[in-house]
Amino acid sequence: MEWSILQQYGPSLLKGFGNTVLCWALGTVFGMALGLVIALIQRYAPRWVTWIVQAYIEVIRGTPFLVQLFVLYYGGPLVGLRLDALPAGLLGLTIYGSPYFAEIFRSGFRAVPLGQIEAARAIGMSELNIVRRILLPLGLVSALPALVNFSIILTKETVILSIITVPELLYQVQRMSAETFRYLEANLVLALFFWGLVEAISRVGHRMEARITKHLIERT
C-alpha cells in the first residue's frame, strides 16, 4: 500500500475511527443502562409486565442486528421516527445490546446468595436499599466477566452500522478503497486493525476483571 494514500485519507480514517469508538462507547453505556433497567423490571415488576419484557428480549435476540437497523432507519420515517444515520445507529446499538446485557445482569443477580438478601430484609432494610447496597454491588461483580465479554462483541457489531451509512471506520475505508481501487489492502489492514483492537481490549478487560474479582478467588 502506498503511504501517500494513507496521508491523503488519514483525517477521514481518523474521524471514522472516532465515530467507531463513539458508537461503541455510547452504545455500550446506554445498552448496559437499558439492560440493567430491564433486569430490575424482570425481578420486581408484576407478572404481565415481565411477559412483555421477555417478548422484547426474544424478539431482539432472535433477529439480526442488520434487519433491526433497517427497520429503525428505513422503516422509522413511515411512523414518524426520522433519525440521521449516526443517532439511528446509536439507538440501534443500544436496543440491540440491551437484552444481552439484561440477561447478564439477571444471572449476576441470581448469583447473589439469598441469605444476604434475607439478612438485609431481616434487619429492616427497604427494598430500594437492598437493591442499592446488596443486589447491585454483589451482582455486578459476578456479572463483570460476561459484561466485559459482551462489550468486546459490541465493538465488532459497530462495523455493521456502515451499511446504514454511519460514517464509522469501515464506511470510511470503503469510501477510500472505492476511490483508490485498493479494496484488498484496505480491508486487510482493517481486519488486522480490528484484530489488534479486540485483543488489546480483551487483555485490558481481563486484567481489570482479575483485579475487581480478586477477593472471590480462594487463596491457597
Binding site: E58, L78, I160, I163, A191
Partner: protein, 215 residues
C-alpha cells in the same frame, strides 16, 4: 402507518427467500464443524507449532468482524485468480468464521469431561485412538449439542451480512422488496418475523436436545 396487508403480501415471497438463509447457515455450520474439529485437534495436539497456529486462527477469526472478513475474502478471491460463485464464497467465509467458535465449543466440552474417564480408559489398556473415539468424543458431542444449536442460531443471524456482497438471501430479498414497494417498514418487519420464527424453532430444538441429553 403500518399496513398489515403490505406485511402479509411481502411475507410469503420473503419466506421463500429464507431458504437461502437456511442453506447458508446449515452449510456454514457443516463446514465449520469440519474445520473446527481439525482446529480443535490442532489446539489439543502435543506439537507447539500446531497449537500456536490454532490459537492464532481462533483469535483472528473471533477478533475480526464477520463483515470485514467477508469483504477481505470477497476481494481476495479475484486477486489469487479463483473464480468461484458468490454463494460458495459466502458459505466458505461463514464456515471459516464458525470454525473458530466451534473449535472452542469442542475444547470446552472436552475440558468439561471428568478426568477420571480418560484415566479409567487408559488404566484398562485402551490405546489413545480408542480413548478418543470411544470415551471422549461421544460424550463431548452430546455435551456440546446445545451450544452447537446456539451457534447455528448465531449463524442464521450472521448470514444476513452476506447480503452486503450481493447474495440473494432473506435480507437481500427484503431490500429488493422494500425498494419496489416503497414500504420498508412492513417489509423489514416481515423479514424480522421470519428470522425470529426460524430462531425460535431452533431454540426449541436446542431445549429439546438439552432436555434429552441431561437425562
Amino acid at each position: 402507518m403500518f399496513s398489515f396487508a403490505v406485511f402479509l403480501e411481502s411475507f410469503w415471497p420473503l419466506f421463500w427467500a429464507a431458504r437461502y438463509t437456511l442453506l447458508i447457515s446449515v452449510l456454514g455450520i457443516g463446514l465449520g464443524l469440519v474445520i473446527g474439529t481439525l482446529i480443535c485437534a490442532a489446539r489439543l495436539s502435543p506439537y507447539p507449532p500446531l497449537r500456536r497456529f490454532a490459537a492464532i486462527w481462533v483469535s483472528f477469526l473471533r477478533g475480526v468482524p464477520l463483515l470485514v472478513q467477508l469483504l477481505v475474502f470477497y476481494y481476495t478471491l479475484p486477486v489469487i485468480g479463483l473464480d468461484v460463485p458468490p454463494m460458495v464464497a459466502a458459505v466458505v467465509t461463514v464456515g471459516i468464521c464458525a470454525s473458530a467458535y466451534i473449535s472452542e465449543i469442542w475444547r470446552g466440552a472436552i475440558a468439561a469431561l471428568p478426568k477420571g474417564q480418560t484415566e479409567a480408559a487408559v488404566a484398562i489398556g485402551m490405546n489413545p485412538r480408542d480413548v478418543w473415539t470411544r470415551v471422549i468424543l461421544p460424550q463431548a458431542v452430546t455435551l456440546s449439542l446445545p451450544a452447537l444449536i446456539n451457534e447455528l442460531i448465531l449463524l442464521v443471524k450472521a448470514s444476513s451480512l452476506v447480503s452486503v456482497v450481493g447474495i440473494l438471501e432473506l435480507t437481500r430479498a427484503s431490500q429488493a422488496q422494500a425498494a419496489t414497494t416503497f414500504r420498508p417498514l412492513e417489509v423489514y418487519i416481515a423479514a424480522a418475523c421470519i428470522y425470529l420464527l426460524i430462531n425460535l424453532c431452533l431454540a426449541a430444538l436446542g431445549r429439546y436436545l438439552e432436555h434429552r441429553t441431561a437425562a
